[in-house]
């Protein structure tokens, strides 16, 4: 028994060492974001000797960080909210009704899962420009809604089918209309699934690069990713500013992840394994 326990400890420590080495690039980004440029060149691996927050102040100003944050938060927040609302409502009807029409609609709604976003990007630019929505945030929002509809409806239909239909039938008998039934009875019950959807969508949309690049352009507002790409492109080898930018872009999402780890893990695994 004791031999096994010691073995377990050795294994744990080896795995931890691996994890720390794995995160070495993050250590580099953190320590070099608070060093003056000259120190990065001389001692890139060491802890900072002349600790400074000047890089952050400079990066904040030159990259217009506040605007980038605002744009990314608005786009991610609104796209996720719209997607959750539209897909959960559609999924509810598909999960509850029997019949060929609804089955066909379900299959039809899943067709988008395999399609790489670049297939829809090029034609969508034309559609958006015809609708006068190119280079606007609502345009990007609608593109995301179309892109992720399939994946999220798939999660929801599966989940809603596990909820007994007697619940909403009895609400209907009591005189609640379908909207009320859905929002006061079903929607609260599908919260775990909504959490999964929010985590997936939040990560995908917040970190997306190609689509905002061409749908928003720089005219329609830069997001964190396109803004950082643009800013860093301008001072390629000013590594102190690069790392400050990198930290400013990553810290919010890393903090969010670390504070809601359990939810992240459950969300990702329930989405991927059951799906």
């Amino acid at each position: 028994m004791r031999k096994a326990a010691i073995g377990g400890w050795i294994k744990s420590i080896l795995v931890l060492i691996f994890a720390l080495v794995y995160l070495a690039p993050l250590y580099i980004a953190v320590v070099n974001s608070v060093k003056p440029y000259s120190e990065i060149i001389k001692t890139p691996l060491n802890l900072p000797q002349a600790f400074t927050l000047q890089n952050f102040a400079d990066a904040f100003e030159t990259s217009n960080m506040l605007e980038l944050y605002r744009n990314s938060i608005v786009i991610t927040g609104s796209s996720v909210a719209v997607l959750i609302l539209l897909t959960s409502m559609a999924a509810y009807v598909i999960a509850r009704r029997r019949g060929k029409v609804y089955q066909a609609l379900y299959v039809f709604s899943l067709a988008g899962i395999m399609i790489p976003p670049v297939v829809t990007l090029i034609p969508s630019i034309k559609t958006l420009s015809a609708l006068h929505l190119l280079y606007t945030m609502p345009g990007l929002l609608m593109f995301y809604a179309g892109t992720y509809f399939s994946t999220i409806i798939f999660l929801y239909v599966g989940f809603i089918r596990t909820i007994p239909a007697s619940l909403d039938e009895s609400a209907y008998m009591d005189g609640a209309n379908p909207f009320r039934t859905f929002f006061s009875i079903i929607f609260p019950l599908i919260k775990p699934c909504t959490a999964t959807a929010v985590i997936f969508l939040g990560m995908w949309i917040w970190n997306d690069f190609l689509n905002p690049m061409y749908i928003l352009g720089f005219r329609g507002g830069k997001t964190i990713t396109t803004g950082i790409y643009n800013a860093i492109g301008a001072y390629t080898s000013m590594w102190n500013l690069v790392f400050a930018n990198v930290m400013l872009a990553s810290l919010p999402i890393i903090i969010l992840y670390l504070s809601m780890q359990k939810l992240f893990m459950q969300g990702l695994t329930s989405g991927a394994v059951k799906g």
């Binding site: 377990g8 744990s12 420590i13 795995v15 931890l16 691996f18 994890a19 794995y22 070495a24 690039p25 993050l26 580099i28 980004a29 060149i41 890139p44 691996l45 409502m89 559609a90 009807v93 598909i94 709604s109 067709a111 988008g112 395999m114 399609i115 790489p116 670049v118 297939v119 829809t120 990007l121 090029i122 034609p123 969508s124 559609t127 609608m142 809604a145 179309g146 509809f149 209309n177 379908p178 909207f179 917040w206 690069f209 061409y214 964190i224 990713t225 950082i228 790409y229 590594w239 990198v246 872009a249 990553s250 890393i254 670390l258 992240f264 893990m265 990702l268 695994t269 991927a272 394994v273």
Partner: protein, 289 residues
């Protein structure tokens, strides 16, 4: 249920309308464009049949892009799954240290690919890059990761893996946790060693996880854009371009939307075919217990 039809429509219509306009219609348009010489700006264009596809197969830069994409796909799929399974078996246990390691390995997964690519472009620099500094400290020979396009692609594949490995590990851990402990216990009573347990129990019962991870890894590998765009921009001279980079450039910089659409359609068909093949293989290998 009298109002049922009306309410059903109200629930379904908004979502399906957007899905129709921004998914189904664009896919159809993409197919149609691939048979035209549309430039993305003009109002008129001609239908030129399969000419775009013919030209693509004669285009050396498309072959190059295809090759790059396939290398990235194979390398990342191998690393994700081999390293993913090893790490998951090591991490799938109780204990504080393992818990910390689990959350640490997942951190890069939540980071944006653009940011990751910038951090790593510093790490892999030939002069003054962190990896080479460490190699020098240990008394080794400096490595030039950009020596040839092939070495550059391998390097970028590694960076892509660093970015998303955590996701694949999490999927494997959750599949492992569905394997009943009694099977292992019975096996240990019969005197099976670690390797026998791993190859005769763990691996076959991991099949559902392997299927999901392989499909995700293959599709993800074929779609690569972000890391390559930031690290090399596809250069030198298009030598590290992926198919997605190739088509985006053709569509928006050379205004050859028809040609670009044809390339995208080929990519799409490859993804569908590979996914179907993987699904049918895995159906045969999944074990009931």
């Amino acid at each position: 249920m009298k109002h049922s039809k009306l309410y059903d429509t109200l629930f379904l219509a908004p979502g399906f309308l957007i899905y129709l306009i921004f998914m189904i219609v664009p896919v159809v348009m993409c197919f149609l464009y691939s048979f035209t010489n549309w430039d993305g700006i003009s109002v008129t264009y001609r239908i030129i049949g399969l000419k775009n596809f013919e030209n693509l197969f004669r285009d050396a830069s498309f072959y190059q892009a295809m090759q790059v994409t396939v290398i990235i796909m194979i390398v990342t799929t191998l690393i994700y799954n081999v390293l993913g399974i090893i790490l998951a078996t090591l991490l799938n246990d109780k204990g504080k240290l393992l818990g910390i390691s689990r959350s640490a390995i997942f951190i890069p997964t939540v980071m944006s690919s653009v940011v990751v690519a910038f951090i790593w472009s510093y790490m892999v620099q030939t002069n003054g890059g962190v990896i080479n500094s460490v190699i020098e400290l240990l008394g080794g020979q400096t490595v030039d990761f950009y020596r040839t396009p092939t070495t550059t692609i391998f390097m970028i594949s590694g960076i892509i893996c660093w970015n998303s490995l955590g996701f694949f590990v999490v999927i494997y851990i959750s599949t492992l946790s569905t394997i009943p402990q009694e099977i292992y216990e019975a096996c240990m009573v019969d005197g099976a060693g670690w390797f026998q347990r791993f190859f005769h129990i763990t691996l076959p019962l991991l099949a559902p996880g392997i299927t999901i991870n392989c499909i995700l890894a293959v599709a993800g590998g074929l779609k690569q854009y972000d890391h390559v765009k930031v690290i090399t921009g596809g250069g030198p001279g298009g030598a590290t371009q992926t198919v997605t980079l190739f088509s985006v450039e053709k569509a928006f910089e050379y205004n050859r939307r028809g040609y670009s659409s044809a390339a995208v359609i080929i990519l799409f068909l490859i993804i569908v075919i590979l996914s179907v093949i993987q699904l049918s293989i895995s159906k045969r290998h999944e074990v009931e217990y």
